[in-house]
């Protein structure tokens, strides 16, 4: 038998440098993806909620296309199909681009719902005070609608974080790829999977806890 006895501590202390690097890469890709998804979500969500002619229809198409196809196929499209037209990205770019495009689609739906939930009379009040359309959006719709959309958008960010594990298929050295590669060398499969599960659950659970915290902190005054 080559199978060694289960020793989680030995696995972590022998490979902590690679694992830490993998975790940093996961967090880096997630941060890029989440930041991009936030910007895409606010801009396109606002465009849809305010029915801005061309952008709004484009957003509808983009959202339906992304939501109705598997993210793995989207990653394959970016990584294997685009080079056919001379568009070649490195693994890191594919990684954050894929999760950003995916998260952006879901997030623009979150923000659209949030912005549409802002009563029209609030916006009318903004216009009555002499604000232009953009100023009304920034001062009235965004602060109120953004707070309404916050919990669901954090759920999308959690999914973005979880989806970075799919970068295993393009061989980008994030946490899942790193742990699996180590276990292929040392046959410590059980330990590697335990580490993966613990790290992902810690990240996801702390983000969910953050939702609950923010929900109570940022709740609209009348909803409190």
């Amino acid at each position: 038998m080559i199978l060694a006895a289960y020793d989680l501590w030995a696995f972590v202390s022998e490979n902590h440098e690679e694992l830490r690097e993998g975790l940093v890469n996961t967090l880096k890709v997630s941060a890029f993806g989440i930041a991009g998804a936030f910007v895409i979500g606010v801009v396109l969500g606002a465009a849809r909620a305010h029915r801005i002619p061309v952008v709004s229809q484009f957003t509808a198409v983009y959202v339906e296309l992304i939501r109705n196809t598997p993210i793995l196929v989207q990653i394959f499209m970016i990584f294997y199909a685009l080079p056919q037209f001379g568009i070649v990205f490195n693994q890191f770019t594919v990684a954050w681009l894929a999760v950003m495009i995916w998260g952006g689609a879901f997030n623009s739906e979150n923000f659209r719902a949030g912005f549409e939930a802002v009563p029209y009379r609030y916006r009318e009040a903004g216009y009555a005070l002499g604000f232009g359309r953009l100023a009304t959006f920034l001062n009235v719709t965004l602060p109120i609608g953004g707070r309404i959309a916050l919990p669901s958008s954090i759920n999308t960010y959690i999914s973005v974080l979880k989806n970075t594990s799919l970068m295993y298929v393009i061989g980008y050295a994030e946490l899942t790829t790193t742990a699996l590669n180590i276990s292929n060398l040392t046959l410590q499969t059980t330990e590697a999977l335990t580490v993966l599960a613990i790290v992902y659950l810690t990240l996801v659970w702390s983000l969910s806890a953050l939702i609950r915290l923010l929900e109570s902190r940022l709740a609209l005054p009348e909803a409190r």
Partner: protein, 258 residues
């Protein structure tokens, strides 16, 4: 905003939505018509790959629904250890990336016990059931708790025990409310069945990937041509054609039933 304008706007969106897909579809279709590489590729994807996807999806949906409804109903019993146990199950399998669950089932279980070795498609189905049943359990708990307390009391007054009360009175009512989440779950499971590709299970994406590699190989073996865009674009269209009607159905049911 007038109703007429809204209807026109929706029509406009529908046309715009159809347009890029139609272009992609025509592109793929023409590549099938005008070339000799395409026919065996699509033949393989549709006859070898599609059944795999459908098998995994069917098993995962049925398994998730059964286990999820039972767990969700059990969670409404006020018994702390039971509630804590199911809550842990839900939080763990909803919190893990599904890919990690797939690896745990496919690589982790056999390394703990040799008897727990599964084929790739079976392992993917099990992983999807673990994830899906957690989703369903959470939804079921909410749906069961949303049934008014009088229903429980009336059923008890008629002489039903706990099982009969839930089986004949509470669950039939909550299943109505569960229909939209079930359809969304089906969409998610069909899409996530592609994760079987990562461990080499033969479903649509794996079939496409194999064909892509075959025709890209150097001439005696393959054609030395790259058609990744047509092949994976076709897979994208295929999944869209499956998912889009289902997401529309889920949205419709949500509006009708709630």
């Amino acid at each position: 905003m007038s109703a007429l304008f809204r209807r026109r706007w929706r029509f406009f969106v529908a046309v715009l939505l159809a347009l890029p897909l139609a272009v992609l579809g025509v592109f793929v279709w023409r590549s099938i018509q005008n070339s000799d590489w395409a026919e065996p590729v699509w033949d393989y994807i549709l006859t070898e790959g599609l059944p795999g996807t459908l098998k995994v999806s069917a098993a995962a949906v049925v398994g998730s629904a059964l286990i999820g409804v039972v767990f969700g109903t059990l969670m409404t019993i006020k018994l702390l250890p039971l509630q804590a146990l199911i809550r842990l199950y839900i939080e763990v399998f909803r919190g893990l990336p599904i890919l990690v669950t797939v690896f745990i089932v496919y690589f982790g279980l056999p390394s703990v016990n040799r008897g727990l070795e599964f084929g790739a498609l079976t392992a993917a189905s099990i992983a999807l059931i673990l994830w899906g049943s957690a989703q369903v359990a959470e939804a079921t708990r909410g749906a069961v708790q949303s049934i008014p307390h009088e229903q429980h009391e009336a059923a008890s007054a008629l002489g039903f025990g706990w099982v009969g009360r839930h089986r004949f009175v509470i669950l039939p009512q909550s299943l109505r409310r569960l229909l939209p989440p079930f359809v969304s779950l089906l969409v998610n499971i069909v899409q996530n069945s592609t994760l079987a590709q990562v461990i080499g299970g033969l479903e649509v994406l794996e079939a496409a990937e194999r064909q892509n590699e075959r025709i890209a190989a150097i001439p005696p073996i393959g054609l030395g041509e790259i058609h990744a865009f047509e092949i994976f674009g076709g897979v994208l269209v295929l999944f869209f054609l499956i998912s889009f009607p289902l997401t529309r159905l889920a949205a419709y049911l949500e509006k009708r039933l709630v």
